[in-house]
Symmetry: D2
Subunit: 291 residues, 4 copies
């Protein structure tokens, strides 16, 4: 029985760890708020550890899925962090959407212990995590990736090796850049359609079938038209991701004018109280003084 | 044999008129530069008229596909324009991407002659016109639309009745709003991927399969990465379309911040000499001082 | 006694016409809503005419100050417009902020009558009009300008010949481009100062004295901090002016990214009900979900 | 004789330290590249120290003026940093434009030694430093400010107490927000004026005297028109400052759309090779494919 640790049982981590348990892994979990870990163990069996380090001890694969760089730092390299429980030959896999710099830091920390690291941010949302249909973007050396790929297949529908450590995160950032502009475009089109007196639903059908089409348009226009944002990927997460993108772009000297602008619009959504709304709520910003 | 006139044999109009001829319509064509009309008649038969009015005379259906509002005004309501050749019971169908105000003007002019009008801008590009696979967004009364729908099926894969006159154009504008933001987003993502040292092609494969995916990403990233813009939908056309969008948005009081910004970036592409480049050349703007 | 006609007795035109009367001109006024004209005659003497054409008849100098291109068209070249009352040797001076294309149209119309035209948009606001302290940007041939300069001195503190017809308007547009960005910058700085817990008033004192200083910062930060926009230059006017700027920029192929973006923000202010608020109300947009 | 240390003899620090020496302070300097320190001692007397800590030892006032947060960290709290040379009753004054968080860190470090800290970023440029005409924005407790104010008067024309530690930096950021938008506005106006065929110099005279006027317009339009950017405040510094602004705004949840956009434009200027050009070079970006 392969041993695994899973640290961070939030919306994403909880079901991901569950898939491993169901696939027969011997899983030890850690979560900051203990009740979630307790609930998980009740549901899937396995064990609950008191610290990330204890969870990691003896595990071949150590998975992490927490909020941001800071959280990640705490549960890995700081006191009682998972890195301190790593053994040679174990691999730390990070599913958090975090910075590429953080990936490099963790890679160095793991190697110091004789272990390996892989950054493996995901896309596909909570639903993808639950259905085991995530898209996983991996940054690691070839050997580490080959070792992990069959494991990740338990919750990934597409597990791709992007390149060395960090490139998983960089791919995720490129993804978020695409998402931000697409949503703003769909939101502007819907706002325009509304003011112009169009049947917006029908217009989206037509547009979605052609060169203006996108995943967001097809999958989000209906909830956007219903002014329903109580689902999906939260604005607070998007803001974090775009801050990471823009910091990385600054490091590289890449100009991202639309992304930078839309990031500021997301701040306005946060000020509207929309930190937990789905990212498609950019439409609500555009419509707030309209109907 | 149903009689039709086709005015404007450009990249789009030429093959569209051809589909009608092949479907057995008796087509009279008019084109400002006569050689194109001559060439068309050689290829498809039918007749060439010396003015739009003469082409329209006696035709049940009169199609127009020219450049912009101005061009449209000239070939319809000005001297020798198609409207002057209309009879009661004939319908003028406009495939030009033009303003909704222009559609209303033409509707009034047609009704004065006892005829009918339909705005029917298309999307799908030159290739769609050639393959008869256009998406056609129609603005007309119910009866007129029903009369035209089977005719448009000769070159449309999707012919949709959006609502009364003008709503075809308004739908097309909503489409262009989506397109502009999507392309800028893909361009920024690609520029980021390049600077970050990613395998950009592989990154686009992954992103294209998920929530960041779009028609433009899937169909254009390869040519964008090859810095090849010698194809597709020209920046000059996009500029015209976005100017129409923004003027309409101003009329309605709709705020389109990303669209307005990207319109200014397209001006920069025009200044780079890119008026005829494909709209995906926003990437070239981002990369001009890079590699 | 020099004869003059003044058409359009709004916030600007009323006091401007008054300065001419006080300087001894024999002034005939026209205003669409007759009561304003009546009131003016009661205050300053002179005569009230029933149409712009009648006001212009026999006047050496015909001044116009109405809202926009459309209004201007109506009171000049359309039926009963001022141009129809022009004689050879009379000059039409337009103080409306309008397009350069409109200036050219009016110039042609005046020359047809043997008369002359000068575009002379102003800056300095209602207060400047009342105090006779306007800055006036003139587009005309040398001779016409020399003839008018001493007349305009009655309400101008700075009367400058910018070049041929149209260049007055183009200068005014360049001015509005500066104004829009300056105000957005001051608004962002104030919003930042507020959130950062600074003494915003003190910060503006310091900034205003250095390289971040501007007329808007010095003259508007206090009312902005007091959330008071019931004065000054209305957002509706600014929107009109920026639309003119952007249309002209499109004609010239000039990219104005910040201006285009801020124009969209002003649309949001209009949607907030702020059409009549002072242009500095961009701050209210930034603060609407804050305190 | 009052003892002072000055760390960082760059374009700003060199002349500032000079003013202190001329005013009779006993100054010990430190500069990373020793030749500058040597040159300074030759010019002004005083002593050169081998490390920041040694320079600080025994000094009542310790001034720092280096590049950014990182540099500041190195010369203060890291090994051999100035903080290690502080005694109770000495004050560390930081003239670097840095983050407010950094100011808080340094304040804590100084207090641990029994000393005091003041953040005191400046504006006025190299010329202001040379002429002793800087504007200095101070963050400190009342007593510390009162102690330092007469000292700073040796090179400041305006020395203002903004509030507690950090508020000097926050004021400087608000200043940079103003500057960025003003310059983009002036650049867009000049680009517009050029394309519209205006006498741009004359237009700026007129605009500069009214509601569109600003320090940047008055003091920079001539060099901008001459395409001369070999002077002034470098784009690289501006980029650093705007990154600080935007990070702080993110911390506070403040939306700065124009600032964020212009920051991206400055990245484009850097990519053009303009890292050392004056910030007014935003015009060169707008004109790069024009004349
Ligand atoms: N939700 C989504 O649709 C998607 C999310 N992501 C990314 O996945 C990551 C996780 O998202 P999600 O699961 O939705 O987030 P949740 O907020 O649901 O869960 C966050 C988890 O991290 C833990 N955590 C946070 N901070 C700390 C800390 N300082 N110390 C210890 N544990 C901590 C939380 O513990 P506790 O329970 O105690 O709060 C919780 O287990 C994020 O990086 C997100 O951007 C990626 C794709 C889609
Ligand atoms: N206000 C300001 O601070 C500044 C304004 N300007 C510009 O000056 C111009 C005038 O501004 P302002 O005086 O404030 O505007 P007001 O709205 O106060 O006045 C507009 C005037 O135009 C007349 N008018 C409008 N439309 C028509 C029409 N179709 N036919 C006949 N008359 C018409 C109005 O008549 P009626 O009384 O019947 O409505 C009124 O006399 C504008 O172009 C504005 O942009 C320039 C600088 C500063
Ligand atoms: N220049 C201007 O017009 C203005 C500048 N400022 C701000 O003032 C500060 C200084 O600017 P300026 O003097 O022009 O910059 P310079 O580049 O001319 O000088 C920088 C100084 O910092 C030193 N330095 C940089 N990094 C380190 C390090 N890691 N360790 C030790 N010393 C270091 C340099 O040493 P070395 O000589 O060895 O390189 C040099 O003395 C910046 O924060 C800037 O933003 C503010 C207003 C105007």
């Amino acid at each position: 029985m392969t041993t695994a640790a899973f640290i961070g049982l939030g919306n994403m981590g909880y079901p991901m760890a569950g898939h491993l348990a169901r696939a027969g892994f011997d899983v030890t979990v850690y979560n900051r708020s203990e009740d979630k870990a307790r609930r998980w163990v009740e549901e899937y069996g396995g064990r609950q550890a008191r610290t990330p380090a204890l969870a990691a001890r003896g595990a071949e694969f150590v998975f992490v899925c927490v909020g941001n760089d800071n959280d990640l730092h705490q549960v890995t390299v700081e006191d009682n962090g998972a890195v301190h429980g790593l053994s040679a030959e174990s691999v730390l896999v990070d599913h958090t959407t975090a910075s590429a710099a953080m990936a490099e830091t963790l890679d160095a920390a793991c190697r110091e212990k004789g272990g390996r690291f892989m950054d493996a941010p995901v896309s596909g949302g909570q639903q993808g995590a639950e259905n085991g249909q995530l898209s996983i973007m991996c940054g690691a050396d070839e050997v580490t990736f080959e070792r992990l790929a069959p494991v990740l297949d338990h919750y990934g529908k597409s597990v791709v090796h992007m390149g060395p450590v960090g490139q998983g995160q960089l791919t995720k950032m490129a993804n978020q850049i695409c998402v931000a502009s697409v949503i703003e475009g769909v939101a502007e089109a819907l706002s325009f359609a509304r003011d112009a007196g169009l049947d917006a639903e029908k217009a989206m059908q037509v547009i979605g079938a052609g060169a203006g089409g996108s995943w967001q348009l097809v999958n989000r226009h209906r909830t956007m038209l219903a002014d329903d944002y109580d689902h999906g990927f939260a604005v607070d997460w998007m803001r974090k991701d775009l801050d990471i993108c823009l910091a990385e772009a600054t490091r590289q000297g890449t100009s991202l004018p639309a992304t930078a602008l839309i990031n500021e619009f997301y701040k306005e959504v946060q000020a509207m109280g929309g930190g937990r709304w789905d990212t498609s709520s950019l439409l609500r910003r555009l419509r707030r003084d309209k109907g």
